[in-house]
Symmetry: C2
Subunit: 220 residues, 2 copies
């Protein structure tokens, strides 16, 4: 199984770590804070106390043998830079680091970080797209005006057919096209538009941003 | 045009604000920090200095007339709670707040916040899904092990058919099912699997996380 080291187990680092572990990866998390280390025992493969800026610590933990490392230290820019440089020197094949701003991000990339993440900025953009479309739980753009949306079916649409609710199963027609309906843990792919929706259903649809906007205004 | 008030113009708040402004919304950002306020002049409709926990400030700014408000204060939980309660009392129709953890999030919801965002945690999950799958530009989960992925077609797969590249157009069969191909600004929905992919194509597919993982390992 692939192995990933997470340096800094704050909210971002821990979330990456836990998700990877649940996906079947071997995950080692390192943090200076004893409380944080303890909290993560059992939630990942190994939860270790240590300083990510300490070269011998990283060597002893076998950093060179990992498939990837994520530098998830946010506030301490110096620590983030130092750990990234150490990982680069240890030839870790994929180094991802979070950054607070583009200046830090560019600096990290020059130091050998392969990919920079801006969690707060990226979530901000994402929220903006789904803000006034609260039924839109998630949105993935394909072009600037076309995308795939994950919509929580509003309660009052329950027991209506997919067509009555405003979606189509005909991909040649305009409008929001239904890709899948998730009910509990079950997924139904490309359902017919005469099928009913139930309370709590979550649907994935493909369509123009304008049609998504219209769906929202029609229903609000 | 719809109007949104952003309380706290840190990296998350400013990102929501700038994106909304670029999307055509009227955006008012409020922050206690003069430097932050100045930085945002011209980037949003109005950039104002003030304390989001001050009821008369929110009243004077016409908070009740906004379509939505985003409480983007992260570290100061008390300020985040107070502003949220004030907005709820002013009957703002949509209040979104960020939270550091579920305890804070649940508390905010009880106080009238309609939607809670966990930027760090949500970006962490998102990164985990695309970490060792660099071709996966974005991922939207439908269930814990099934989702929709936006994949950048690796160069060496160009001029191969969709089927040769490892995707299917048969939604009854197992495997990654092709929803759409984006080429330049054009979108082709539910293409046939004998159609060729070209350099630079971006595709949206639906499938099990395991199949996505397998696609990646087959190609790396
Ligand atoms: N040199 C270091 N070595 C190991 N862990 C560190 C080091 N410096 C900070 N950390 C840990 O990294 C984690 C994230 O710290 P940070 O100061 O970035 O908090 P944060 O920005 O609030 O993080 P998040 O937004 O992910 O919650 C903390 O748990 C902290 O103990
Ligand atoms: N009571 C308040 N009224 C208005 N603005 C505030 C108030 N409290 C904090 N802010 C502002 O909110 C912004 C975000 O502050 P915060 O302490 O949450 O930083 P942060 O967690 O690093 O934010 P981000 O992660 O979005 O960069 C800051 O610019 C700060 O000045």
């Amino acid at each position: 199984a692939k192995s990933v080291m997470i340096l800094g187990m704050g909210r971002f680092g821990a979330s990456v770590a836990h998700t990877l572990f649940q996906m079947g990866y071997d995950v080692l998390g390192i943090d200076t804070d004893e409380k944080v280390v303890q909290e993560n025992v059992g939630k990942i493969t190994f939860s270790v106390q240590g300083d990510a800026t300490n070269e011998s610590t990283l060597k002893e933990l076998g950093a060179s043998n990992f498939d990837a490392a994520v530098v998830a230290i946010g506030t301490n820019m110096q620590a983030s830079l130092m750990s990234s440089v150490l990982l680069a020197n240890l030839d870790v094949p994929l180094i991802v680091a979070r950054a607070q701003d583009e200046l830090q991000g560019n600096t990290l990339q020059r130091m050998g970080v392969h990919r920079v993440i801006y969690p707060e900025q990226e979530m901000g953009e994402f929220l903006a797209h789904s803000l006034l479309n609260p039924d839109v739980l998630e949105y993935m753009d394909l072009t600037p005006d076309y995308g795939i949306s994950k919509i929580k079916v509003p309660d009052y649409l329950q027991d209506q057919s997919i067509a009555e609710a405003g979606f189509t199963d005909d991909w040649e027609k305009p409008g929001l096209k239904i890709i899948a309906v998730k009910r509990g843990k079950e997924i139904t792919l490309l359902p017919g538009e005469s099928e009913d929706l139930r309370k709590g259903d979550v649907i994935a649809v493909a369509g123009k941003d304008d049609d998504l906007e219209k769906f929202h205004t029609d229903h609000n």
